[in-house]
């Protein structure tokens, strides 16, 4: 059955009602613990400091809460339910062992200010994870503190700044390729530096002539993703490193695409000085609908003195400790020691796979991407959705929907929305910006051949449908989701961002 009906489906009949519109005065779930101490008088908290009206929180019973949020959960697509080839996001399986170990009270109920000698298990875990990340990246010094990839980037740019300042240099420019993630330029601005874009060559790599022209003594750093956001490994990486180091700048590695090269090639060996990891991508911290994440950084010897504090260290007697006494440190980037719960999960993942298992994961991710690319190059697809750059790819690839738009009248957005009716999460769309109608596809090592085949078949079917039955079907998709296309322009024009009470 072709899912094109516009009749309302059962799952669409229920109108969204927030928890603030449910319940009734006096209903409750919480029962306050016993009042076992004397009442306090008014002096304890003077009247002028007191809240006059309680906050307008819901008044609901526990069954209502459970029904409400379980109901909401059913209006979400998730990785456990189906294929999620979202490019640059590395939607790999989240093993349930990780949830079990992270929930052990010794981890979950450990207070962040417990004395280090009474948190030796946690510090050892962090130390082991640091060692593993150092080995994977080829850079020996690791701080686990940053809370996300973009937070790691901020750390990296601040480290670069501190490094140059230590030799009394004020360098104000940071080079980023025009294919870079948006976080790169945004981070540079936040760190008080200025972005200079570097062009992309016809092979999808950094344009060396443009790089040489722009690399001068004002350049603090080049931020690079390798493989880049086109899924292509920059073959000129050694020359890029020479140019960048030649003007005294540092080379920063955006680790978003590390899943392509674990155990196969290391940023440190490519000449990078600073790398951030996304534990929520390559190392299976569940994405949680947008967070939490974790963005540790690894650096070379010359950057190490500036790492955030505290650092987890191993003392001569073998005990683990937090080292605050770091004079040249850029300081803290957040409270406490970082997202330890994420460390537990990613450490468990590394223990499960081992060094060779991590390499297998990257190899399978690259095999899957190239297989899916090959399937999407078959007749009836390739002419509408050509590969934007290159021939093979690493862990992901970028197609252009330009020819599809011209020949069939459907945009990449339409294709993405129609995929929803086929039960797939669409790829990343309209990124990178230099590819017309871009579709960025990353299957990860999680998927089996049958899933990849089914996805390729769905794409082919949508193109066939547009060619034979007209573009309107895709243009008006989706039809089978809890809501259909939403008015995003209207939402931004007159923002309603909370429930009126």
């Amino acid at each position: 059955m072709s899912p094109t009906t516009t009749n309302e489906l059962p799952l669409q009949r229920e109108r969204a009602t927030t928890i603030f519109e449910k319940g009734a005065p006096g209903r409750r779930a919480f029962v306050c613990p016993e009042w076992d101490v004397p009442q306090v008088n008014g002096e304890a908290l003077p009247e002028r400091f007191r809240r006059r009206e309680p906050p307008g929180l819901p008044e609901v019973s526990e069954p209502e809460i459970v029904r409400h949020y379980v109901g909401l959960s059913k209006r979400n697509f998730d990785l456990d339910s189906g294929f999620y080839p979202l490019g640059s996001c590395t939607m790999k399986h989240n093993p349930r062992l990780h949830e079990r170990v992270a929930a052990l009270p010794g981890h979950a109920r450990l207070h962040p200010l417990q004395d280090p000698e009474r948190a030796q298990g946690a510090l050892e875990l962090m130390w082991n994870l640091q060692q593993a990340l150092a080995e994977i990246s080829g850079l020996p010094h690791v701080s686990l503190q940053p809370s996300a990839g973009s937070h790691g980037e901020l750390a990296g740019v601040l480290l670069t700044r501190a490094y140059h300042e230590a030799s009394d240099e004020r360098r104000h420019k940071v080079l980023t390729p025009d294919t870079s993630h948006g976080t790169n330029p945004a981070t540079v601005t936040m760190a008080g530096l200025e972005v200079v874009k570097v062009a992309t060559n016809p092979d999808g790599g950094v344009d060396l002539d443009d790089l040489r022209a722009k690399a001068d003594a004002d350049v603090a750093c080049l931020m690079l993703t390798n493989p880049n956001t086109l899924g292509l490994f920059d073959r000129n990486i050694e020359e890029i490193a020479r140019v960048v180091h030649g003007v005294g700048a540092t080379l920063y590695y955006d680790g978003a695409n590390l899943n392509a090269v674990m155990g196969l090639s290391r940023p440190g060996d490519m000449g990078f000085d600073i790398v951030h990891f996304n534990l929520h991508k390559s190392f299976t911290q569940p994405h949680g609908g947008g967070g939490p994440g974790s963005g540790p950084i690894a650096v070379s010897d010359r950057i190490a003195p500036f790492l955030p504090r505290p650092l987890v260290v191993r003392r001569e007697d073998g005990a683990f400790d937090l080292d605050f006494d770091r004079e040249q440190s850029i300081g803290r980037l957040r409270g406490f020691q970082g997202n330890y719960g994420c460390f537990v999960r990613s450490y468990a993942y590394i223990c499960s796979l081992g060094g060779d298992g991590l390499r297998d994961a990257s190899e399978t991710a690259v095999l899957n991407a190239n297989y899916l690319l090959a399937r999407l190059r078959e007749q009836g697809v390739a002419e509408y959705l050509p590969l934007a750059y290159g021939d093979l790819c690493l862990h992901e690839f970028v197609l252009s929907g330009g020819p599809m738009k011209k020949a069939l009248g459907i945009k990449t957005l339409d294709l993405a929305k129609r995929l929803l009716d086929h039960g797939f999460h669409p790829p990343t769309v309209y990124f990178p910006l230099l590819v017309e109608e871009a579709l960025m596809i990353e299957p990860t090592e999680t998927e089996c051949k049958e899933t990849l085949d089914a996805f390729a078949d769905a794409i082919a079917e949508i193109l066939r449908e547009a060619a034979e039955e007209g573009p309107e079907i895709a243009q008006n998709a989706p039809y089978t989701t809890p809501v259909r296309r939403l008015d995003e322009v209207g939402a931004a024009k007159q923002p309603v961002i909370r429930q009126a009470l």
Binding site: E135, L158, I330, T428, L486
Partner: protein, 452 residues
Amino acid sequence: MLDAIGVPSIEALFDRQIPEAVRLRRSLGLPDGRPEQDVFAHLRELAHRNVSAEDELSFLGAGMYDHYVPALIDMLMERSEFLTPYTPYQPEISQGGLQVMFEYQTAISELTALPVANASVYEGPSAVAAAGYLAKLHNGGGRFVVSAGLHPHSIETLRTQAHGYGMEVVEVPLRDGVTDPEAWVAAIDGECSAAIFAQPNFYGAVEDAAALSAAAKESGNPVVIAQVDPITLGILAPPGECGVDVAVGEGQPLGNRLDFGGPSFGFFAAREEYLRRMPGRIAGETTDVDGRRGFVLTLQTREQHIRREKATSNICTAQALNALGGVVYLTWLGRRGIVELGELLLARTHYAREKLCALDGVEPLHTQPVIREFAVRLDGDVAAVKRRCAAQGVNPGVNLEWITGREEDRGGLLVAITEQRSRADIDRLAEVLGAAVAASDQRSASEAAVAV
């Protein structure tokens, strides 16, 4: 699969794309992979070498607290549909997560009495730094003025980031535990970009938030930022009613685990005029083509993936899963529960302060009102006292000097109370702490005798 690709081996895929000089031609130097039960045993063994709030009677706080996490939060946070999706880029199949964000924003807005809230940021101290950056974008001022009562981690995080964009951070001292009003006014002038304080402050004292805000506005035109403890907002006047422009804070007390410091979430609420400069994700209400109510990520033109170097922040993470825990917790407490819990914490904290300060060698560090945490000064070395208490299964609190590095905090102990610490627990703390401090006295007395 290789045939379809047209290569002879997986190896060939890499050989043809990665230059030989940067290939790793050996195995990673990591231990071999292990089966699930072995990894579980290893992680459990590491857990056993931590002393958690499960293993001792803990009065640790200073930003994260051992509140009870109701069972339904574990159940909901572990559901695949909330645990495993990405950021809701495809709203048609992400209505659950988007509506949770919308409800969360509503709850934070209610709690803080400020009209707009985002879908959360990383955690508390970096939320303070993010608020500082908002102020810098808003007025371009040259200096941040912070109360010494702000959490030391917040001050340091703000300094780290402010150094990048060249902003000075000036600290205003405390007087009897609260921000010195005269020094506060003296530090704030027309060049001040933001004036930042904490409520309650790091030493547990309730600040006169309305007076601090009003004084700041009179002596300059800064964005007034408060870091607030959400669990106190059932009984404390909310920042929106105290003249505060931006309220941020650590969300961990709301239904999130301690997790040795994270992940949790940071909340971020503000007056309407700051909406378009806010960092992070924001969910908004809209309708679909058939007129059904729905939710989307909105005001995205602030964000890095659209605006790149002109973005209001590089933050693209909402701690969505942790914020889910937060909004479910607030719903579970409900309108009356958050007041009842606040009153209980207030009463038990007062009981505990009186009880401890009646001990020989223990005196209050300040006499200001407190709600859920208070600071005392011990006559003796805090680390040694803590070790003696630990031997009795009690962790009496945070060694203040260890966190702040301030000389005037020597001997300081910060004691936190949650609803999980009963009167009997507090009595036990008093007994053990009293003995531990007395042991210090005896030791120093005997040392003095030896010296003589």
